[in-house]
Amino acid sequence: MTPSIRAVRVWGRLVDPQGRPLTAPDEDEFTLAVAALERLENRSEPTLHGVGRFPEVFRWGLPSALGRPVTFCEHPPGRAGWKAALAEIAEATSGLSILFGVDGPGDLLDPQGRGSGYGAAAFAVESREALESLGPLLDSLPDDATSIEGAGAIVDALRRTRGDQARLDLGGWDPPPASPGTADPERNRELELLARRSVSEGAYVPGARYREGAASRWRLAADRCSRCSTVTFPVRGWCRGCGATDRLTRFELPRSGGRVEAVTTIGKGGQPTEFDPLVEFGGAYDVVLVELAPGLRATLMMTDTPTGVVRVGDRVGTTLRRIYPMDGEWRYGLKAVLPSSPGPSPDA
């Protein structure tokens, strides 16, 4: 059989068996899934399929973060679930498919759960035939495996049997990110519980407005006005130059980032209360004002970089991360990273 599974790549990071941190404090299964899928996305028009059970944020958030639809196969994870999902996806699609699984706080908080951290795994499959051929690779998977373990088993088997470029970070550990903080499982559990108890009061961004803002906060969506040529970022629904509402064309500023115009390090006590758990678990953090394009700026937190390192004039890139918990759930947004920072490095 000609190998029709091309460019299989898997990306994920969990807490290792010794409890060593493998995720930055602001990574979780959602940000890891986004990162993994973006890596596989530089190919033409794939369909995206999540296999397993997913927290609510995936349903609206993943399409928002990736700019394309995502389907979810809500089978219980494990051997039977993965096999059923493969059959279902093979039935529904014919072209390039990307399948992914995740593991995260849903398992983390469940005393019966198998997960010990956050992770995501994804791989790309070129055809229906190739999809159908994957089933036997799951035979050794326990029936109570997690979603990511199903994806991981497929990738591991592919690597063993076909010499593909697959790599799953469940055993081949990357060094921990340089940012302060911890992914100690106990601490993760505490942080997660704290986040779930977070309740907003007074002024805040309600969930509906947060989701509305995701276009600009996650993908740097901007509007160009065909009447006066002004670019409005973040998007407002009108042109900041002339006020027009009907002459706007949506586009996205490059997420490769821009130049640091200003930087501050927020020490303990200088943070808004929403950031208390982050400071408690991760210490001080930097916030930068970045010029993304002439006259267009974004205020972004730094990540994967020790505080006090980034300077005015430096170039920074962007990556989607957790920002703060509110009303019991995590909120996400782009953060800035120094290009040289030892952040996520999925495929060697």
């Binding site: 002024a203 020490g267 808004p272 953090y285 703060y324």
Partner: protein, 389 residues
């Protein structure tokens, strides 16, 4: 505007600023009583026909209809009370609204009261409220309170100008020195540049001593038409120009993120109306919520070129004995910053200075004052010009 009657301040009151045991009601009452007592010929019962309240409503105490609380405390139940909220510029905007009411002839005696009670809420609630007036989505929910926003501005200013850090420290040193002679000041304690530089960082490059404190306090003004001022006093203080401006809420949305266009607009508008220019200002009360804010204010108000505030600060020009004395009452930095009270408090200081009643902190020969009040990180600002009556 020929049919408009100039407005004058005929009375002013002030509580101590700081961590006080008194609650909001007592502070309102105390500031109003002090203002009444300051009226040389006394205030007839029922004379106040319009009241303006400036407050953010810190800590959530009486979120709605706080105006009614003031009406009772001021003994003015029945009079219309208008609440003005523009974050830290609430006081300046309330003063402007009262001035308009008097100039237009609608009010014959307006009372302006600014209030904030910030220290009786737990630390977590206080920090919650300290950031509610900035851009919520892009600033606060990227981890910034105002200290952080001003920290960004300071980092840019320091990258652009030499000796900026020394000048920032000197702003704190100078304003603490000024505060020594203000009995209402929260801090009456001299500090050194070394102490400012060594203080724990809150929003690097800004440290604890670059930040104004959390304060309780209230201030009050009585405003009358110039042609009726003699009923109350022989030495009214004339409101000769008011200006106000707004800007994009988030710093990132402004064409030039390192300067406050709202301040520039407010200053230009105020001087357009005034019969004098910047050169004849005797002293300035500017909004120094953080040390960087005083430097930016001097530049945006037109008293220095970009970066020029550094020299004015380091060569002593902004000290009480200098060419442009700035924040002779200690400023927000040493006097304290009860949010809604600040803009009103600046006018109180001008009232006593221009009547030569400021005692040991008196600016010799003070004739004309500029007051500058900023909301948050520059989304709103007022400039008020006052002159000896």
């Amino acid at each position: 505007m020929t049919d408009r009657v100039p407005a004058t301040i005929v009375g002013a009151g002030h509580t101590r600023f700081g961590g006080l045991t008194e609650g909001p009601r007592a502070l309102l009452r105390s500031a109003v009583d002090h203002a009444r007592e300051s009226v040389d010929r006394g205030l007839p019962e029922g004379a106040i026909d319009a009241v303006f309240l400036a407050t953010l409503g810190f800590g959530g105490w009486q979120i709605g209809n706080a105006s009614a609380v003031l009406a009772e405390a001021a003994g003015a139940v029945g009079a219309p009370v208008t609440r003005v909220e523009n974050a830290c510029a609430s006081g300046g905007y309330a003063l402007r609204a009262a001035t308009d009411a008097v100039e237009s002839g609608r009010s014959q005696l307006a009372l302006v009261v600014g209030l904030e009670k910030m220290t009786d809420v737990p630390n977590a609630r206080r920090r919650y409220w300290l950031g509610v007036s900035g851009d919520t989505e892009w600033e606060r929910l990227n981890g910034l309170t105002f200290a952080g926003v001003y920290g960004l501005l300071a980092s840019r200013y320091m990258a652009d100008h030499r000796e900026a850090r020394e000048a920032l420290a000197e702003v704190a040193v100078k304003n603490h020195r000024h505060g020594l002679s203000n009995p209402n000041a929260q801090f009456r304690k001299a500090i050194t540049r070394e102490a400012v530089l060594a203080a724990p960082k809150v929003a690097d490059p800004l440290g604890l001593l670059d930040c104004c404190p959390v304060s309780d306090g209230a201030a009050a003004l009585l405003i009358a038409p110039a042609d009726a001022a003699h009923r109350y006093t022989d030495t009214p203080v004339a409101i000769v120009g008011t200006g106000a401006g707004s800007d994009f809420l988030a710093v990132q949305d402004r064409p030039d993120p390192t300067h406050f266009a709202a301040t520039r607009r407010a200053a230009d508008a105020a001087f357009r109306r005034a019969p004098f220019d910047r050169r004849s200002i005797s002293f300035l009360e500017v909004h120094d919520c953080f040390t960087i804010a005083e430097l930016l204010a001097l530049e945006d108000l037109g008293f220095a070129e970009p970066g020029g505030a550094i020299r004015l600060t380091l060569d002593g020009s902004t000290a009480r004995s200098g060419r442009w004395p700035v924040n002779v009452d200690g400023g927000l930095k040493a006097k304290g910053h009860p949010i809604g009270a600040t803009g009103v408090s600046q006018a109180y200081e001008a009232f006593v200075q221009l009547r030569a009643e400021a005692g040991e902190r008196q600016v010799p020969g003070a004739e004309r004052a500029l007051l500058h009040n900023v909301g948050g990180s520059g989304a709103s600002a007022t400039v008020t010009l006052l002159a000896r009556g």
